[in-house]
């Protein structure tokens, strides 16, 4: 059956066809026709955020926790530009988003019209693809392809910019499925030769290591299962990037912990000393590699990535395999067949010696009942683990402590801004995750500085009765900035003190949340329990040690073997070459 419909109606029908449950958005002049369509439509639920950045991050949280694409709807000009940070965030972390932006009418484009911005131009390099739709008859096919591109291959954000007159003008809508152009079909499986070579390399390794990343999560829960199976048959120790946490069980004896700048001693040393490294869905990020010329100098490297441009981008590898993590893992498991594990007990014994350094140790006892932030995360984990919570974070020290001291054993439970490092990500991401997982406990582990970057989203959680928990590790500093200033700029704390903080308890109560303050270690467990017991959104202001640093740490410009551990003395200055690195 086909009928004449407005562009706005075609858009909504197209979203329904994609099984979209939620649209995270904010209305404005250039999207009024679409909002009018949504008004009477009960098939798609619109979640009104308080700022468009919140919409993009909420959609990311929804996508990351459910594996489905997140959908954003914002108006032209400031609506679109406000969403750009979230779009860029999704681009760097490979999160599938479809972002619908309103645009001024086609005849006004280029005239500096009210709320006009060149959205397609602005988002060109932070989207996987983007479109300006100039005719309603192209809308259905464009939306169809936008979802395909967002989800297939390496996932990412796609922007569809729709001028207001295209929303109003009509075209023929047909119930029938759309004929795809089929111009986008990324390769998923590896060739038999590649698999055979990889399996041979791994089988003859004396010091193998699996280094896994967010690609395993993006590939779907089956990839995590296959990863565990592959680890079991090879016996290789395993480390993961920040984005890959949860793909492997943190309680497994071969789990080395996270690697990289704030990774464990054993993970980084094992990366440095291994003879065969298997990178599965990670991208040799600078936060992972440390100084490149000293990165794992004596290993043969295999890199499995669905994005061909990730291979040899930063680190030259011996065997690059373009393919989907789950598919390639399955191929490797099949090719491994009945091979026996090599004897790598000597390697594992070395790893145990590194592990004995206990690199996540910290001063547990401090005077006056001051709470160490690491302890707060440990207690939060201990008291919530049986609820299988979804954890989101903001960006900074608290994020690293959450990664280090919270335990993850399932994929899609850990949502953090890894690539772009966007402060303000955590609360809106928690909102999206809660909507996608209504029965889950969702906690944003936050810092007092980051949380203020999207604090307005308190209202969104109230409006939609989302019982999210925000747990602020409040040290009255932009802690990671302060830590770098201590290590690199002789403790000149330029603008890193969080002055004029709001009363977070009173603030959250003003939005109808429950507010809890914890300022002494003796109240920590009771405070966390009170947070859990409240059937509604809760903000916990947990006052923690102001000067705790995040260790272990590979200072910028240093190698994996040059880690700072808790208790090391630090010079307080750095060479210019190191200062110039991010």
């Amino acid at each position: 059956m086909s009928e004449e419909k407005s562009g706005a109606a075609i858009l909504v029908e197209s979203l329904v066809r994609q099984n979209v449950e939620f649209v995270f958005g904010y209305p404005g002049g250039a999207v009024l026709p679409i909002y009018d369509e949504l008004f009477s439509d009960t098939r798609v639920r619109h979640i009104l955020v308080r700022h468009e950045a919140g919409a993009a991050h909420a959609a990311e949280g929804y996508a990351r926790s459910t594996g489905k694409p997140g959908v954003v709807l914002v108006t032209s000009g400031p609506g679109a530009t406000n969403a750009v940070t979230g779009i860029a965030d999704a681009f760097l972390d490979s999160i599938p988003l479809v972002v619908i932006t309103g645009q001024v009418a086609t005849n006004l484009i280029g005239s500096d019209a009210f709320q006009e911005a060149d959205t397609v131009g602005i988002t060109r390099h932070c989207t996987k693809h983007n479109y300006l739709v100039k005719d309603p008859s192209e809308l259905a096919a464009t939306i169809d392809e936008a979802f395909q591109i967002a989800m297939e291959g390496r996932p990412g954000p796609v922007v569809v910019d729709i001028p207001k007159n295209v929303q109003v003008a009509t075209a023929t809508w047909s119930e029938n499925a759309i004929q795809r152009k089929n111009r986008y079909s990324p390769r998923k499986a590896a060739s038999a030769d590649e698999i055979a070579e990889a399996v041979d390399m791994i089988a003859r390794a004396e010091r193998p290591i699996l280094y896994t990343g967010g690609g395993v999560i993006n590939s779907g829960p089956r990839a995590s299962e296959l990863l565990r199976k592959f680890q079991e048959i090879t016996g290789a120790p395993l480390t993961s990037t920040l984005m890959g946490l949860g793909a492997f069980d943190h309680r497994h004896p071969d789990w080395l912990g996270m690697l990289g700048m704030h990774g464990t001693y054993e993970a980084n040393m094992a990366m440095n000393e291994c003879d065969v490294m298997v990178n599965i869905g990670a991208r040799f990020d600078d936060r992972v590699t440390g100084r490149l010329d000293a990165f794992s100098p004596n290993s043969e490297k295999i890199h499995i990535d669905i994005d061909r441009s990730s291979i040899n981008k930063v680190v030259e590898v011996d065997l690059g395999i373009v393919g989907d993590c789950a598919t390639v893992l399955e191929q490797m498991i099949a090719a491994w067949g009945k091979r026996k594990q090599a004897d790598i007990s000597e390697w594992k014994a070395r790893i145990e010696r590194w592990r004995a350094k206990d690199s996540l140790a910290y001063a547990k006892q401090v005077k006056g009942g001051t709470i160490m932030p690491q302890l707060a995360v440990e207690r939060l984990y201990a008291l919530t683990r049986d609820k299988d919570p979804i954890i989101t974070t903001e960006v900074g020290q608290h994020q690293m402590w959450a990664a280090q001291y919270f335990g993850f054993d399932k994929p899609n439970k850990w949502l953090t801004s890894g690539g772009l490092g966007t402060m303000g990500y955590g609360m809106p991401a928690a909102i999206g995750a809660q909507l996608g997982n209504p029965d889950s406990l969702v906690i944003d582990i936050a810092g007092e500085a980051s949380i203020q970057m999207n604090i307005q989203e308190l209202g969104t959680a109230s409006q939609f009765r989302l019982p999210i928990k925000v747990f602020i590790l409040n040290n009255e500093y932009m802690g990671m900035v302060r830590q770098w200033q201590e290590l690199t700029y002789e403790s000149r704390y330029s603008n890193s003190y969080s002055d004029s903080l709001p009363d977070f308890v009173a603030l959250s109560e003003a939005y109808g949340w429950k507010g809890i303050r914890i300022h002494d270690e003796s109240q920590l467990d009771a405070g966390i329990k009170a947070m859990m017991e409240h059937d509604g959104p809760v903000m916990v202001d947990c006052l923690v040690s102001k000067e705790a640093n995040c260790f272990p740490m590979i200072p910028s410009g240093a190698a994996h073997t040059e880690m700072l551990l808790y208790g090391d003395t630090v010079a307080g200055t750095m060479e210019d070459e190191a200062k110039a690195l991010v």
Partner: protein
Amino acid sequence: MKILHRETERHVLTVMVDNEAGILAKIAGLFTARGYNIDSLTVADITENHAVSRITIVTKGPPSVIDQIHAQLERLVPVHKVIDLTESGPHLERELALVKVSGKGENRVEALRLADVFRANVVDSTTSSFIFEIVGTPEKVDSFIALMRELGLVEVGRTGVVGMMRGPEGI
């Protein structure tokens, strides 16, 4: 602290793309966003139904960067195919230039004589000027322009390189 520069090599890339709005900006922008060089870029629609354009890019970079450029171009959704002509073997490169020269007397005669040697055509003439049209490799065009510089060069317009693999196969 000093900024380090790496050795570069020149490559000619042919890129087949969907002829859609913004594609040229996407490609040119990719080069600036990722810090790659463009020596020249040409683009024209080459199919009967105007669906596909052929872009030829001359770029410079260390081998690893050239490989990245190739991969990053292929990653763009409207890009069908990327061929590194330099890598792929024997190929042709041609460029067209319009070269305006003004002068009288011996210089004018000499310019005309050299144009003949280079097989450049006169496409416009006044009593005190010529516009030559020259087609050839970038090196040939370079040397012709260098000679004209001594004989009253006024203005140059170049198309940039288009290239094609030798032999019977298409891309």
